[in-house]
């Protein structure tokens, strides 16, 4: 079972975290729970940069391609000249492509966040543990989470 330390003070919490690492506890076994984002933790417990950014990139690129393909292909499926504009009118289609870039990009980033942080988590919802404003360090015994 995990060894648990609870702090009310941010500085003491950070100090304890640094001490743990100095004592040679591997970073992967330390879990940290904070009531708000503490940027220092990221420096003490270095992890890989969040892969959420790839979801953003892929979603946005997918949105651009979808927007252009959708407008161009539907226009070509029944070529009809309206208002003297060419059937494939890129300037207006770019607007649709832009909107879909943002839409797909934002939604895929959100989906990526949920996937990578394992949310919604039933364990978290059912959990009775409430730490309020405390900073918590959980050191897990040998086994992987």
């Amino acid at each position: 079972m995990a060894d648990r330390m609870v702090f009310d003070d941010r500085e003491q919490f950070l100090e304890a975290l640094r001490r743990l690492l100095r004592e040679g506890v591997p970073g992967e076994r330390i879990r940290v729970i904070t009531p708000f984002c503490v940027p220092e933790v990221e420096e003490i417990l270095p992890g890989t940069r969040s892969r959420v950014r790839f979801f953003a990139l892929i979603g946005a690129a997918g949105g651009t391609v979808t927007g252009l393909a959708f407008t161009i292909l539907t226009a070509l499926s029944w070529p009809l000249v309206i208002g003297g504009k060419p059937v494939v009118s890129l300037p207006p289609f770019i607007i649709i492509a832009f909107a879909l870039t943002i839409l797909f990009g934002a939604l895929s980033t959100f989906a990526g966040f949920l996937l990578l942080s394992r949310l919604p988590s039933l364990r978290g919802i059912r959990s009775e543990e409430e730490y309020g404003n405390a900073f918590v360090i959980l050191v897990e015994e040998g086994e992987r989470r």
Binding site: P39, E43, G84, K85, P91, P92, I94, I95
Partner: protein
């Protein structure tokens, strides 16, 4: 370049360059050659843009401002030179289609008068801003005044010097487009200046803070999107309305080579290159990526000014080369002097 550090050398150089340009511009037959206008348009955008970038940075307490403020503001004397160059353009005014016709707004004396007034005003406000101690409330107020004059001055440059070349063509966004582009260019110059200083953040900054260079890269990146938006807003409205008196401007530029390729080049230099180059976080602090983007932006502004003028105005390559070289040299000279001066003081 050591002689530049002596007092009085710089004003003398500026005067000499002014005289040389006057000689080149006023050779007979005067009034036909648009090279001076092209050079003027490019440098007024960059010079006013540099000071505007400094003023905008001051207004919002940007951190990067401290490392490039002095160099950016050192270009202020060139505004005075620009006012002189505007006077050299007087014979050229006969090229404008409205010349010789009755009118209240478009008549030579008022035309030159209002542009000159705003150039001088921008010089005065820039001087006042430059002389204010950095970081104080006073500097912010003076920065705000400069920015107001800057907007008015660039708007006049756009509407008067460029748009009225194709009177009665009207494009309401032209003024806004010009001053945004000038600030865009100002940020590009700031990034280059920042690179010259090494771009490393001072040691006293909090650990993990972004460097000044990446702050400036973010600004350039943001402005590339904004530029694209403004460009698109103009193009789309004109394309969609398809009114003969409006599309003529675009048609004249897109219907024949090499102007068509230059138009595409402008789009590349100001958006399609800087945007992907600066997209990733790592590239935003990479000196090669940032300088490539900054140079692309500055050359984009130059090519665009050429595209605006070329269908209407003739250029003589020799005069163009001399005038451009003069101003480029002066620009480097003032910036070099100010950065050397900083090193000596420190």
């Amino acid at each position: 370049m050591a002689f530049l550090e002596k007092n009085g050398v710089l004003p003398a150089l500026i005067a000499a360059a002014g005289a040389l340009m006057a000689f080149v511009a006023l050779r007979p037959p005067p009034g036909k050659d648009g090279s001076l206008l092209l050079v003027f348009l490019f440098f007024i955008a960059v010079v006013e843009g540099c000071i505007a970038a400094a003023a905008a940075g001051t207004m919002v307490n940007a951190r990067w401002i401290s490392s490039v403020r002095k160099e950016l503001l050192s270009v202020t004397p060139l505004l005075l030179l620009s006012s002189f160059l505007l006077l050299l353009l007087i014979p050229f005014l006969d090229t404008y289609p409205w010349a010789g016709r009755p009118g209240f707004w478009l008549r030579k004396d008022f035309f030159i008068g209002r542009n000159l007034a705003f150039l001088l005003l921008s010089y005065v406000t820039a001087r006042r801003f430059a002389s204010a101690p950095a970081g104080g409330e006073g500097a912010k107020v003076r920065a705000a005044w400069y920015l107001l004059v800057f907007v008015a001055s660039q708007t006049l440059v756009a509407f008067d010097l460029v748009m009225s070349l194709e009177y009665p063509w009207v494009n309401a966004l032209f003024g806004g487009y010009f001053f945004i582009e000038a600030i865009y260019g100002g940020f590009a110059v700031s990034a280059l200046l920042c690179l010259r200083r090494g771009g490393a953040p001072p040691a006293e900054r909090a650990h993990g803070a972004r460097s000044d260079l990446s702050d400036l890269s973010i600004l350039m990146f943001g402005f590339s999107i904004m530029w694209a938006g403004l460009f698109f807003a103009q193009y789309l409205t004109i394309w969609y309305g398809n009114l003969p008196e409006e599309v003529g401007f675009i048609a004249r530029r897109l219907s024949a080579s090499p102007m068509r390729e230059l138009c595409v080049a402008v789009l590349f230099l100001l958006f399609i290159i800087p945007f992907p180059v600066l997209l990733s976080t790592r590239a935003k602090s990479n000196p090669f990526a940032v300088s490539a983007a900054a140079l692309s932006i500055l050359s984009g502004i130059l090519v665009e000014r050429y595209v605006f003028l070329a269908p209407v105005v003739r250029f003589s390559p020799g005069a163009l080369a001399i005038e451009f070289a003069c101003l480029l040299f002066l620009f480097f000279a003032v910036v070099y002097k100010s950065s050397r001066g900083g090193a000596l003081e420190a």
